[in-house]
Chain length 359, copies 4
């Protein structure tokens, strides 16, 4: 249930509603837009220790809420996700990230400008990271990606440099002014990774690691939630809801390909995810064409397609020498390929009335 | 196996090779490009009536071929499809279709210009067809789509107007100068449909209807082969190979979405099909975002994404009043929506160094 | 809509209902069970030449029907398939096939006995067929399978011996008294194949070849409809509905594996298809573990699982020398493997209160 | 790489090999079967802090190992998983679990007897758990299942009673002598859950939660690893390898259905998983037909099919009143349904030369 306040409503009116909800054992999530204020109503935890869920709200509560001062209407959200739904928050959410490298000192993800995030799949060494960071920054990337904790399908595979990797990322940020996006894999690492990262990344294998989602929610950090490799839009938005429900509004979705029967590509990128989540939700959505295809020669065209379909940012794996990469070299593009891609992206962005953040 | 002739080779040299192949019970498929001539070698039908396939070619034949005059090299094609492979035919194939409505009188599919094909899912009445044809022509479409024979999942559903539908399509062509693309569902209908259609369409359910593919191959007509809803790129190119193997070089692929676990969209469009088939094959590839998404509100963004990723044409369902359509109204866009889409497509086409055929 | 007659109703009452329907432009499909008679009501073809479908039936017609003599009730069938639905025909359908090799002279598919169908994937030669037929008959198979017209993914692959193959099958039937099941791929071949076959098989690639389904429906022959490799239960039952709607009640379903992301097996057998279609439909359902797995070493266990889950028959590829098979040798079991499997199947059949037809 | 010792080898010979490996920076995993002893050789962690993996082993090491006393052969394991592979450990692994309720005091999973595990999806209350435990024990179940920590797709759904639930499970074990299987969702909970559980369960969403797998590996507890809902056999066995690589040999696989396009069932159970993993691996494999189908009316037939195909145990959701269940009631069977199922299972088990553990 969502309570929509009149445009003339005051803080007092809003508090009145929140108090009413509390008196009835419910929780109100406040969302103050430019145009109007809405309050999401969630079911409370009952005496049994069992959360009541949304379904448990008595319809008569809705009628009573409609009678409170300056309440315009009470809307039932039809989706299982509430805070993530477009119904709850009709305006686009924009997630802001501090970035020394751009004028104004911050990047806005979800606005008119398309944001370039690039870097190695995995931090392998200081030289590899610094070379890549310098090159992608020069070509216009404004966020640096790089894995310090890496999921490996095999226990004998490379699992990342860990803290040493995080420290190298921090060093690159200091040198190039680029905010850092890096993966966090388990709840107990969230605090540590937050010390170094500007944006947390939840990987496809962890999209339904609910305790991780809770912890990332509590951290308040901007968080990219990659789509689970066989997750529906609904399940994905419910994963976002976990983070939002903890009070963290800085949630960004990331399409990275789904698992299908096709074998020629590592995954099948679902480009319809960009317009579709924009219909269902107010959250920004970005594209990972490297994981999405698993093939270097498809990264360019799929980046262009993502921007044409409405992606708010691109997350691209770049490696100074992909064939020597410790991980996922086959899907990393080279620095010259990245240089060639940028003006093409700029052109497509302009064709859909957007532009790239490049300064 | 492919025989590549030297650039200085004469018709005599080519005939020499063809004769050699025939003497050894093999068949040569000739492909004369601007740069060079290549001959695809296929296994012959043996005395048992069982085609020998490619695998059965004796390696010593290859060596002998290399010794013939003006043969540059003999290449083994690594893919199960031969005539459809990029290795066999390195240059892009362009399929030409006569079109009174454009200057020059023909449309080229697979070249620099992106071709707009639009019209109703199914021909329902003269008024519906003419209204739609006039409107989409006015906005820049140059090919008219419309189903006369329609596959229906239920035996009680609408299966099209049949011959009456074909006649209406011919009338629309006469009036608006637009060539016609329409579906053919069974081998015995190929001759009939060829009388009316400029481009045959083989639907997703018939991609592996081999006798239909054979017959369409024999017709020589330009043919669009829609990807089977659970077909790999390889199976799709083998379907194209069926048509090519009958001597019909006018084959066009069409991505129309594949079947996945996602339920919010009717199918999942595999946008990577555009660049990927361009790597594997020389054939043009077009996009059907209407079937590909099943949702009117996704047709626009997915059209833009298709063009950004390299689609050579778009096949879009337009209906004067989609909510009253007898079939697939949910995925048909309105005429005003089509009008709005065209300049956006033009912009994206220009961003990737292409343009729309609109005159 | 379904009209259920009282157990005391006469032929006159039934005719009364049929006449009433005809007067209202509707069609009645009669189904006379042991317990009761029901009439399926289908929408008529309207003046526009467009079939009206089920949805178009006026609800007041239902009320009027309820008032006719000895009509017990009028039921709306909730599924898109009607004649195939369990609601329409509550009792199990049993398809009977003449078989000289069994006592009583006919096999019943869908009854208490589990029917063994075995033979080569493809008829390759008289010797191969006769050897296999003799061996599988000796071990207890009562129906002989063998492809004369074979779908081949590649145009260069083996497509079967055609009519010569059909003649060999007829010869084997004459010799071993086993009825024949063989594939028909295109409408114009139905008449020909019906001359030789006792059971027609519609392959997975043709499950939505609607003109073939229509023709098989008109033939009246027992027909096995293999599940499309990415078809839902609903689409499969609608394919069955096509055949049933032409008046052919001898429809048998066949689960042969669906396409998933798993690569270790050729397909993923959906064993839940056996109990699930039994809930949704009255039609018999059989199992093809050879196509379903693509691996010889899985055919045994998956045969046992099929029978345990309720399969009415097994369709197994057996080859005297699988490694020399022209087609699908990897999934054909040997004659000794078949011999070993039979008593295991008998044991599992008995464990679920069934038995094998073996005499 | 695997070192196979001669049957006449002594502990001294084995230690010799282990010492040799250590001297070359490698790790040996010892596996002592009844027939022979084999040593799995894994790559060591190099000076860079990067694990070397299997690929990094110098082939000359293999030759040197073959020259050591009483080494019979050195085998390269062709699969990416080593310790989980059948090549490494040719004999079936049997996992033993203490169980007061059976004679002998322990249950063996992976042997000739099929083990029944049953209980509620989620522990809801003392009464619900005790009622169910008593009833399933009476009918022959020997392991009690019940979730205390539950993954919920929605943050507003029921997430289990937590520690209170574990305590109720311990109480049920004390009362009915049944060992407990329950889910653990995050690494920091492993120690806690180990205090109460006899078998840890890793859910489908956590199959690639590598830090959880590591921790479960270190615990040494018997662990059931459910197949990820879109995981291949290879990825699943690599998840098992994570646990095995930490020295925990008590790994049990569990097929619980995969995600496909079919919508009539919650998941598609891949029954071929039972024979297929038995070919690839030595680990026991059990069946979860409740999650696997999501439908109460399919649990029975799919249980029978699982046993027929080779499942070593069944994990079945039973609820005294499924329609009032807080979670997954639609897939829980009732106590009378469980009672009816047991003798059917016994019959099928006997048909494949196995039996149920029931005393």
């Amino acid at each position: 249930m969502i309570v929509v306040m009149k445009s003339t409503s005051s803080d007092l009116d809003v508090n009145h509603v929140l108090q009413f909800l509390e008196n009835h054992g419910l929780t109100g999530h406040l969302s103050q837009g430019v145009e109007r204020t809405v309050i999401g109503v969630l079911g409370a935890v009952g005496a049994t220790g069992i959360p009541g869920g949304i379904g448990g709200i008595n319809p008569s509560i809705g009628e009573a809420l409609e009678g409170l001062p300056n309440v315009e209407s009470v809307v039932r959200v039809s989706k299982p996700y509430k805070l993530a739904s477009r119904e709850f928050h009709p305006e686009d959410t924009i997630v802001e990230v501090p970035a020394a490298c751009v004028s104004g000192g911050k990047i806005r993800i979800g606005g008119k400008e398309v944001v370039m995030m690039a870097g190695p799949c995995t931090v392998e060494s200081e030289k590899q990271l610094m070379t890549t960071a310098e090159a992608v920054r020069k070509e216009g990337a404004v966020v640096l990606r790089g894995g310090a904790f890496k999921p490996s399908t095999s226990p004998y595979g490379f699992r990342g440099l860990g803290v040493a990797g995080l420290k190298l990322l921090a060093k690159a940020r200091a040198e190039f002014g680029m905010p850092i996006i890096t993966e966090v894999m388990t709840p107990t690492d969230v605090e540590l990774v937050c010390e170094y990262a500007d944006i947390l990344q939840i990987g496809t294998r962890n999209m339904q690691n609910y305790m991780l989602l809770d912890e990332v929610g509590r951290s308040g950090k901007p968080a990219v939630i990659k789509r689970g490799m066989s997750s529906t839009f609904e399940e994905w938005l419910l994963a976002a809801e976990y983070v939002l429900a903890q009070g963290n509004r800085n949630v960004i979705l990331c399409e990275r390909g789904i698992r299908t029967f096709e074998k020629a590509t590592r995954n099948t990128m679902d480009i319809s995810a960009f317009p579709m989540t924009r219909i269902l939700s107010h959250l920004p959505i970005i594209s990972d064409p490297s994981q999405g295809t698993g093939r270097r020669d498809l990264v360019g065209p799929m980046s262009l397609a993502s921007v044409a379909a409405g992606a708010d940012a691109l997350l691209i794996e770049v490696h100074p020498n992909p064939d020597e990469a410790l991980k996922d070299g086959a899907q990393s593009i080279t620095i010259p390929q990245f240089r060639e891609l940028m003006p093409q992206l700029e052109n497509v962005a302009r064709a859909v009335n957007r532009s790239l953040v490049i300064k």
